[in-house]
């Protein structure tokens, strides 16, 4: 598809430029009263976490479509999204502790949101392990993992919340002052564009891989 071929470089350039500009945009935001400079990690941490969630939802929906309808394209999207979820999850869990160390004084806290993010990351990690080492026929299995993984989210969230809570709640972002909101949404858009670019590249790669494998098998037969 030639159109998408052109779309990916455009997305990459735009998100690259936005990310390059992001330190300057973040610099326009005022210092947060209690946390100071370190609070600025938030402008990267939050978009990364949101993209991880987005990837998890995409993977879950695509897995369900593949599981019940057997659309091959859905499987390619699910693999790509699972990888994105793991990558953005790692980034979230690197930026999170850096911030936590400064503002809470510890690297890691077993609070509801952090623990559930960690569990989600494990679920999509197991999805990738399954595809990598499961051999033939593991796509269907992995699809079940992706589908169940998505359905788990509310339970993980509820169970960990019943267990304990310290992380800022869901009400923080809408209540931010505009001066902090602009850089946040700027970074969010930049990371989401990057996410879309990486996703479509990975989906295409996966489709080429499948086609190549099929061609190999045809030659062998």
């Amino acid at each position: 598809m030639p159109q998408r071929d052109r779309l990916v470089p455009i997305l990459l350039v735009v998100s690259g430029l936005m990310l390059t500009a992001s330190p300057f945009v973040i610099d326009t935001a005022p210092y947060e009263a209690t946390m100071g400079l370190v609070q600025r990690i938030f402008y990267y941490h939050f978009p990364m976490a949101m993209n991880m969630m987005l990837a998890a939802i995409v993977c879950g929906v695509a897995s369900a479509i593949f599981l019940f309808r057997r659309r091959e394209r859905a499987d390619h999207i699910a693999v790509a999204a699972a990888e994105m979820a793991v990558v953005f999850g790692i980034l979230t869990m690197i930026t999170g502790p850096l911030w936590a160390r400064k503002s809470w004084g510890v690297w890691w806290v077993w609070d509801a949101r952090i623990t559930s993010t960690f569990i989600m990351w494990l679920v999509f990690g197991s999805y990738l392990l399954l595809r990598r080492f499961g051999g033939a026929g593991s796509e269907v299995l992995a699809a079940a993992v992706g589908f169940f993984g998505m359905m788990l989210v509310p339970f993980i969230y509820y169970s960990v919340e019943l267990w304990r809570t310290l992380h800022p709640g869901t009400s923080v972002v809408p209540s931010l002052p505009t001066s902090m909101g602009i850089p946040l949404y700027f970074c969010w858009v930049a990371f989401t564009l990057l996410f879309v670019a990486l996703m479509s590249t990975r989906v295409r790669l996966e489709r080429s891989r499948v086609l190549l494998e099929r061609a190999y098998r045809a030659v062998e037969d």
Partner: protein
């Protein structure tokens, strides 16, 4: 033939196989006891069990032994080449799932019957403090674990390196059930028990079990077709 009747026939077949060989129950109970021994070295100091440890010991042991049993129930079918026969039999797929689930639950209940008094005896867990709540937590937690576990163990039979992949997939997936069982048990065993919290966890487990049983029944057919 009704689904439940077909499921019961599969359960009975599995139980007959198990009663004749006693492979699962012997290995699982023995394995659970060796786990308890290892926990004793970790969580007993100066002859006293560390506070809050018994609930964790109980559940981690159940999960480890459960993983062993889960892997084996389907491996047995695969080795004897009977899985295909089972899938070809003129019954609905969900019946196979339910049959396997019931037999698994019966074996796991057998393991727990041995395990619970041992945890009480060796680690001083007050298992008789709220017997019905504890039984409820054990039953619901195990059902949650087995519901998801049966589905994934069944699927993994057709995949290479299944022994390694089963725990990798199973533990993150069944975590809400395990957290529920473990935390509920912890609040029963605590120095100051909090029964309101235990009830919260019980409610969460009922909900989890219902949702995941439905999902597993729903997805067992597409997953096991081909």
């Amino acid at each position: 033939m009704g689904i439940l009747r077909a499921a019961w026939m599969i359960t009975r077949k599995d139980l007959v196989v198990e009663v004749r060989s006693r492979e699962l129950i012997y290995t699982a109970v023995f394995f659970a006891i060796s786990c308890l021994l290892i926990f004793a070295f970790a969580f007993v100091q100066d002859g006293r069990t560390v506070e809050h440890a018994p609930a964790g010991i109980l559940w981690v042991t159940i999960v480890f032994a459960g993983t062993l049993v889960l892997g084996r129930t389907f491996e047995r079918e695969r080795q004897a080449e009977t899985l295909r026969a089972l899938l070809l039999s003129p019954i609905e797929r969900p019946a196979i799932y339910l049959g396997k689930l019931f037999s698994l639950l019966i074996v796991l209940a057998g393991v727990q019957v041995v395990l619970l008094p041992l945890v009480a005896l060796l680690f001083g867990a007050p298992v008789l403090r709220a017997p019905f709540m504890l039984a409820g937590l054990l039953a619901l937690g195990t059902i949650g674990f087995a519901t998801v576990g049966t589905l994934f163990a069944a699927m993994l039979t057709r995949v290479s390196s299944r022994d390694v992949l089963l725990p990798v997939v199973l533990y993150p997936m069944t975590l809400p059930a395990l957290v529920g069982g473990m935390q509920g048990t912890l609040w029963i065993f605590a120095a100051e028990p909090n029964y309101a919290l235990v009830q919260n966890w019980l409610a969460m487990l009922v909900f989890f079990d219902a949702v995941f049983l439905t999902l597993a029944l729903w997805s067992f057919t597409p997953v096991m077709s081909e």
